[in-house]
């Protein structure tokens, strides 16, 4: 074994890893269908595909969490059996899961030491573990405090703990499943620095992301999965964002849907100097006023945490308005119960769709009638009408192209994009007078994003008043007729689509008023 065979962490490198003909069936779903995939030392290989394409499943098979029904894995050309995470760890494979696998109540060092033999036998050797963590952190340029509790760490820091955990176990191949979905742009840059370092040192990396510019920026090769099948593998140098998007979805994708013409109607929803508190007890909204008309989309741009959540919750009755008024079609709905407000045909697509938008352990069909279950034809005299519910569900599944094995599948087993389609289907199919959509495309793949945006436009064209809260400036610019910028619980300005530029919005989002270009003093 020559010196160059070793990684800086002292582990042997993995020159090549190949997955051949991998097939995995779940009840009603063929998650992997004879998939081929390979990765080499010193490269980042992207795995691209829509939600539910089978990316996580393939990676969980590689890590030993799922067992394939068919197929082989070759490591440096030799077939290997991976039947548990212990096997994959021993082979030098590490995985950063889409949802972090950390124990919040333990320290960083304890999380790293978990499951490993200790140099002191039955007693823990956390001091030695801490030293080794600091050593690795130095080699790979990661900043980390081994004694900090995980619950004290930011998301970016937690991810570093995950990376250290894998390196500590001698990972030569690292799987990163949507590592950037939860990071701020700065944290993404930091992650990329670490990834580049690892690749230079001879690690092999697998990178999953829906953000095509990230794929183009950091990856050497890209493999596209669609419906559990490999569509192909290409060097990223030979492709573009648009080409990747089309290839992935299997058709021409538009990032900015056609908006049609504007037919502005009467005022549907209006806020008059609304104030409310935040969860931390500080002011959440500090006097917000605006009108939204039938047939328009009013976008709310802003850096997260500037009152967007409070705005959505005070309109929908989920948060107490301390002063000011909210009117829906001229009627005062301030501090009405959420049920009464929704009854007046305001629809809400919440930001936390898994928590606030649906019940995970209910079926698709049940989730689709959550809002209207007490009405005919879904129930009568307090008894559910199962036939009415079923046909409604089938209709919506077809109309909204929800990918689900059946209407009786638990919602939690669907991918993020399909879950959002259920929420959307439920909220839109009732023909609402006004819609409040909060971060409606966050975490969704390109196909689903495009679909959600088209639906919002369609509702606007049908005459609904649409409020769109989003941190994605491209989305705001693509969809909105007017754009309100929210900063520290206030509306900085409302500008029309024609006058909006990213620069202008960026300044407003930072609290700088366009006319005087000086920061607003609180």
């Amino acid at each position: 074994m020559t010196e160059s065979n070793l990684l800086p962490s002292g582990q042997k490198r993995i020159d090549s890893l190949e997955m051949r003909g991998i097939t995995k069936r779940f009840p009603g779903v063929l998650a992997s269908d004879h998939v081929n995939f390979d990765v080499k030392s010193g490269e980042v290989h992207a795995l691209l595909g829509e939600n539910g394409a089978g990316k996580s499943t393939l990676m969980k098979i590689l890590y030993g969490l799922y067992h394939p029904d068919e197929g082989t894995v070759l490591l440096n050309g030799e077939p290997v059996t991976i039947s548990s995470p212990t096997d994959s760890i021993n082979l030098g494979i590490g995985m950063i899961h889409q949802h972090f696998m950390l124990v919040p109540t333990l320290t960083v060092a304890e999380n790293v030491a978990l499951g490993l033999p200790s140099s002191r036998g039955a007693l823990t050797d956390l001091d030695k573990v801490s030293n080794r963590i600091l050593e690795l952190a130095k080699i790979y340029g990661l900043k980390i405090d081994p004694d900090a509790y995980v619950w004290q760490l930011s998301v970016g820091q937690q991810q570093r703990v995950e990376i250290i955990k894998a390196l500590y176990r001698g990972a030569a191949l690292l799987i990163l499943d949507e590592p950037t979905a939860v990071l701020t742009p700065q944290e993404v840059d930091e992650l990329f620095v670490i990834m580049r370092q690892m690749v230079r040192d001879g690690h092999a990396l697998i990178f999953i992301s829906h953000k095509l510019h990230e794929v183009v920026e950091i990856c050497n090769r890209v493999t596209v999965l669609r419906n559990g099948r490999t569509i192909g593998t290409r060097p990223t140098a030979e492709t573009t964002k648009q080409a990747l998007a089309n290839w992935m979805v299997g058709r021409e994708v538009g990032f900015a849907p056609d908006r049609g013409e504007t037919k502005l109607g009467e005022v549907r929803l209006s806020l008059d100097n609304v104030q409310c508190g935040s969860d931390r007890g500080t002011p959440g909204l500090r006097g917000v006023s605006f009108d939204v008309c039938s047939g328009e989309i009013l976008g709310f741009a802003g850096v997260s945490g500037n009152g967007q959540r409070e705005l959505a919750e005070s309109i929908t009755g989920l948060r107490k308005v301390t002063s000011g008024k909210v009117y829906l079609e001229g009627q005062d709905i301030t501090n009405m119960s959420p049920g009464d407000i929704m009854e007046r045909m305001l629809s809400y697509i919440p930001e936390e769709r898994m928590r606030d938008g649906m019940i995970k352990d209910f079926t698709v069909a049940e989730n689709m009638i959550l809002r209207e279950h007490q009405k005919q034809p879904y129930s009568k005299n307090g008894f559910l009408n199962l036939r009415g519910i079923a046909s409604h569900a089938d209709e919506l599944i077809q109309k909204f192209r929800v990918k689900t094995p059946s209407r009786e599948t638990m919602a939690k087993n669907l991918s993020g994009g399909n879950i959002q389609k259920i929420v959307l289907a439920r909220e839109i199919s009732r023909n609402p007078r006004a819609i409040l959509a909060a971060q409606p495309t966050r975490g969704l793949d390109i196909g689903a994003t495009e679909y959600v945006r088209e639906q919002l436009i369609e509702q606007r064209n049908k005459g609904a008043a649409v409020m769109l809260i989003s941190e994605d400036l491209d989305e705001i610019l693509a969809l909105s007729d007017r754009i309100a910028v929210i900063y520290e619980g206030q509306i900085m300005d409302i500008i029309t689509r024609e006058n909006a530029t990213p620069e202008k919005l960026g300044l407003l989002m930072a609290g700088v008023r366009s006319e005087d270009a000086t920061p607003v003093v609180k």
Binding site: M101, V103, P104, T105, A122
Partner: protein, 310 residues
């Protein structure tokens, strides 16, 4: 005055028996701490105690050996724990319900065996007092702390031992991780099922010993349902003690002291209806739990069966 002297004696008596009476609470609640730390709520403690209680008594009564009696309680507790582990880990039963099932089983079974094998209430010579040389001669203190039998000493030694295992060993780290985030532990190759089997069986063994401490060390008799809710209080003590052995110790002492006090109240013939006196520890359980609720978060995975979602 003579009453003053009298009350000092009484005070020492109350404290000494309080220390002694904490024994079954400690064994049972420390065992429960282990299983809850790993994410398993064992509501069957009372049933495990009753069977341990009977086994220890019966074996001691028939063989004349206290140690064989203790061993029998350990074996019965371990078996109950094994069954509990199978039902919770492999069958993924709803833990609150299956625990009550185990309680009822223990209650009925111990009674049945008692009727069949003995029929009348007998007594045995329990574990003798061990005077710790030197320490037991300290006035007051010696009488209270160092004039107890081996199972009492064992219960108090268990507290630092449990703390040490939970916080300083790799096994303890696994237990804590499995109770908070079994998916994370699983992804690092920790065998979640094995860890839970271990803690549940350990809990069963300690419940068995808790039962034995009643029948062959403290009261030295066996009667139907003689634990009378003590096992349930032990479960409550784990919440009260915030899943920390020292907290559990504090809770156990609080309850045993109140219990001891009410016994002395009866002994001294102070005119309080005995039903009310007997009720005191239970009322206290509820009051204290209400007061301490949500002070510390329970292990996140408590009562949640683990299943790798494949």
């Amino acid at each position: 005055m003579i009453t003053e002297l009298f009350s000092t004696t009484v005070l020492i008596g109350i404290l000494a028996s309080g220390i002694r009476l904490a024994t079954p609470y400690l064994y049972a609640a420390i065992g429960e701490t282990f299983s809850q730390k790993s994410g398993v709520l064992n509501l069957g403690v009372e049933g495990q105690m009753l069977l341990g209680c009977f086994a220890a008594f019966y074996v001691t009564f028939t063989t004349g050996s206290l140690w064989l009696g203790l061993l029998a309680a350990i074996a019965v507790g371990a078996l109950m724990g094994l069954a509990m582990a199978f039902v919770t880990v492999n069958l993924r039963a709803q833990q609150g319900i299956s625990g009550i099932g185990f309680y009822l089983f223990g209650l009925g079974m111990s009674d049945l065996l008692f009727q069949r094998l003995m029929g009348t209430v007998e007594t045995v010579q329990g574990f003798p007092k061990i005077y710790i040389p030197g320490l037991s001669e300290i006035p007051g203190i010696g009488e209270i702390f160092f004039n107890q039998n081996i199972l009492v000493y064992g219960a108090y030694l268990l507290v630092p031992l449990a703390w040490f295992v939970l916080n300083k060993t790799t096994l303890g780290l696994k237990i804590r991780a499995v109770g908070e985030n079994p998916d994370a532990a699983d992804s690092l190759g920790v065998n979640v099922a094995r860890v839970r089997y271990f803690t549940i069986i350990l809990g069963g063994i300690l419940s068995g010993v808790a039962g034995a401490s009643l029948s062959i060390a403290l009261l030295n008799v066996f009667q139907q349902n003689m634990t009378s809710g003590l096992g349930f209080i032990a479960v409550a003590l784990v919440y009260f003690g915030a899943w920390h052995p020292v907290g559990v110790l504090g809770g156990a002492l609080l309850f045993s002291m109140v219990n001891s006090l009410q016994l002395w109240v009866q002994v001294l013939g102070i005119p309080i209806p005995s039903d009310i006196a007997v009720m005191m520890p239970y009322v206290l359980t509820i009051l204290v739990l209400v007061a301490t609720v949500s002070r510390v978060r329970a292990p996140s995975a408590l009562t949640k069966p683990f299943e790798r979602d494949e």
